[in-house]
């Protein structure tokens, strides 16, 4: 009897171990497919063309650090970096200001059309930016905003708000009602309640929004391709395209530019990966 129990327990343990091994193997394989291309680009950013074509998989025999200097200075990656910082910074700041206010109103205040407005925001999440590109181009041209920072900032804010409002709203919904009651008893005005209590409490959701939108807008390519003409205003993803044309035979500096443009997002992800994970689950396990 006892022997049977031991055998059963042993079988269960072996099954659990096998399951775990299979899971780890799948995750390692998946991580390899994600990490290796970045590693490959990084390795080849330190080679010249000849070495890239003769030893594409090997480590650089004599690392060419000059590729980075060449990319930064000659490929105007420095200027594009500045443009990306301005566009991303302004857009994310605008989203970070507006999303919590809209999210708070939609979660906590009662007013006519509240649900309609919320669904309108939600519907924004289901519209692919490319479908509205031509009307957007016409609109911005009529407003005289094409080929300016605003041509990128305004659409980025508009397309970034729905998901951001959704995430922040679901966080506000989860805050106990008694907290707001306590602020009323304490004599706080609506604005004080929002600014002194609710917004600080929603900071984890706001961090998530900031990180997600920073990564998304930093890498945004479509608007930058269609709405910006002057190379001086190119953001990093757009500049890389030009860069490739100019240095068609110099893959080393091209790879160096790719790495340079990816560095901020990689740093952001490494530092805030935990917050990003929590934020994503927060957004998608949201209460209605």
């Amino acid at each position: 009897m006892t022997g049977d129990l031991y055998a059963l327990e042993f079988k269960k343990r072996r099954q659990r171990l096998l399951k775990r091994l299979a899971l780890y193997a799948a995750l390692i394989l998946y991580a390899f497919f994600i990490i290796y291309p970045i590693f490959w680009v990084g390795v080849n950013s330190l080679k010249d063309n000849q070495e890239i074509f003769t030893r594409p998989w090997g480590l650089p025999a004599d690392p060419k650090w000059g590729n980075y200097r060449e990319a930064w200075a000659d490929g105007n990656i420095g200027g594009a970096f500045k443009n990306s910082v301005i566009v991303t910074g302004t857009s994310v700041l605008a989203i970070a200001l507006m999303a919590p206010m809209a999210g708070y109103a939609l979660a906590r205040l009662r007013f006519t059309g509240q649900k309609a407005i919320f669904y309108l925001f939600l519907s924004g999440m289901f519209i692919a930016p490319i479908t509205g590109l031509i009307p957007l181009l016409k609109l911005l041209r009529n407003l005289g905003l094409v080929n300016s920072y605003w041509a990128l900032i305004l659409p980025n804010v508009a397309y970034g708000l729905p998901l951001s409002v959704f995430i922040v709203r679901s966080f506000f919904v989860g805050i106990p009602k008694s907290i707001e009651d306590a602020t009323r008893v304490d004599g706080l005005s609506s604005w004080q309640t929002y600014w002194m209590i609710m917004l600080p409490m929603a900071l984890p959701a706001l961090y998530t929004v900031i990180i997600l939108q920073t990564v998304y807008i930093w890498n945004e390519f479509l608007f930058a391709l269609v709405l910006i003409r002057t190379p001086d205003l190119f953001t990093l993803p757009r500049a890389l395209v030009t860069f490739k044309g100019t240095f068609i035979t110099s893959f080393g500096p091209l790879n160096a530019a790719v790495i340079l443009s990816a560095v901020p997002t990689i740093i952001l992800y490494s530092i805030f990966s935990d917050k990003i994970r929590r934020g994503m689950s927060m957004g998608f396990s949201a209460k209605g």
């Binding site: 106990p176 008694s178 907290i179 009651d181 306590a182 009323r184 008893v185 304490d186 004599g187 706080l188 004080q192 002194m196 209590i197 600080p200 409490m201 900071l203």
Partner: protein, 384 residues
């Protein structure tokens, strides 16, 4: 007139009646407990007093002034919430000081008052902590501190102990009572725990389905419940109930028949009942402590078979089925040191002076009503 008056208060949510408590007067310095089961309207009543809800009908008066239109802040009340509602991003000091900051009290005055309150509640060492770094009991003290620091006219407490473990609840409820004795602030306290209400209240208001069932001192409510609901809700273990028939055949006394039992009521009570035009069917109620039980009892009313013995340490209770009846059972206090064993036969006798009778039609007390109508002393002790 009371210091705080609820006059014909009705509260509806989307045409659904939440509270219809009529009128209630609360005197200055009183510790009132609103008691009732979940959904009885006690928290809604508290929120109406706080100004967090507006009454659909009726008036709320503070010191004779109607406050229906005033905000919670303007009513000068402080509230302790069930989940404490502390601001999690603020330290204890800031949590307590916030309402003074909003009132633009000078900074050194805020500091003095916060530290004074912290000293009173023994949380001085916690002022630099955030709520999540504290135990439930400590958070509860901070919530009390936040209420006390503003020196309000009324304390409103919404089940403030329900999130604490049993032992801490006992400690905190005595501390709240001591605090009330010390500060003397009128307190309205909501709970569903009848034991807590009995210990802490000057006066208990029992609610059911949004209506006041009875209001009175803990002793009055315990000893003279005006309805079967109140009798059942107050007291632990709960009151025993037995169906019975009132037989007016005998002169000077009424004969009650319940199962195989025959109880002769004393002349005073019988006379009162006779004048009250009692129905023939009634429900007899008696508390477990008023059922004398043992293997040998003087003049027993009947015999029961032990179903279950409950040993609580300080007191013990025996649950038994009355022999000769179809399923009638009683819970009784068991005073002997040795416990009873399931299956044992025990004798019992009901204390005639502690019997309650309820009308099965509306569950109201018959003896209480009969005695009131008879303008007698109004005490069941009269039925002696």
């Amino acid at each position: 007139m009371g210091n705080l008056v609820l006059r014909n208060i009705v509260k509806k949510f989307n045409d659904s009646m939440a509270v219809d408590i009529g009128s209630l007067e609360i005197d200055e310095g009183e510790f009132i407990v609103l008691l009732g089961p979940s959904g009885c309207g006690k928290t809604t009543t508290l929120r109406l007093i706080a100004g967090l809800e507006s009454p659909t009908e009726g008036e709320i008066l503070f010191n004779g002034q109607v406050v229906n239109a005033l905000s919670p802040k303007e009513r000068n009340i402080a509230m302790v919430f069930q989940d404490y509602a502390l601001y999690p991003h603020m330290r204890v000091y800031e949590n307590i000081a916030l309402n003074l900051r909003v009132d633009r009290v000078p900074r050194d005055e805020i500091d003095r008052r916060v530290r004074e309150v912290a000293g009173l509640l023994n949380i001085g060492h916690l002022l630099g902590r955030k709520p999540r770094a504290m135990s439930g009991g400590q958070q509860q003290r901070v919530a009390l501190g936040r209420a006390i620091v503003r020196n309000p006219k009324y304390f409103l407490m919404d089940e403030p102990l329900s999130n604490l473990d049993a032992k801490l609840r006992l400690t905190m409820r005595s501390e709240i009572k001591k605090l009330h004795n010390r500060l003397g602030t009128t307190t309205i306290y909501v709970t569903h725990d009848q034991e807590e209400a009995m210990v802490i209240a000057d006066r208990i208001v029992i609610l059911k389905d949004g209506r006041i069932q009875q209001a009175g001192s803990p002793r009055e409510i315990y000893e003279h419940p005006q309805s079967r609901f109140v009798a059942n809700f107050i007291g632990s273990p709960e009151m025993n109930f037995l169906n019975c028939r009132v037989d007016p055949a005998e002169k000077g006394a009424l004969l009650l028949l319940t199962g195989g039992l025959r109880l002769l009521l004393p002349p005073d009570g019988a006379e009162a009942m006779a004048r009250a035009n009692l129905p023939r069917e009634a429900i007899l109620g008696i508390r477990p402590k008023n059922v004398k039980t043992g293997y040998q009892v003087e003049n027993p009313d009947g015999v029961g078979e032990v179903a279950f013995f409950e040993r609580l340490g300080e007191v013990n209770y025996v649950h038994f089925n009355i022999l000769g009846t179809s399923g009638a059972s009683l819970i009784a206090r068991w005073d002997a040191d040795d416990g009873a064993t399931p299956g044992d036969q025990v004798q019992f006798r009901l204390d005639r002076t502690r019997i309650h009778l309820f009308d099965p039609a509306d569950d109201l007390s018959l003896l209480g009503n009969a005695l009131r109508q008879n303008r007698s002393a109004g005490s069941l002790a009269a039925i002696g």
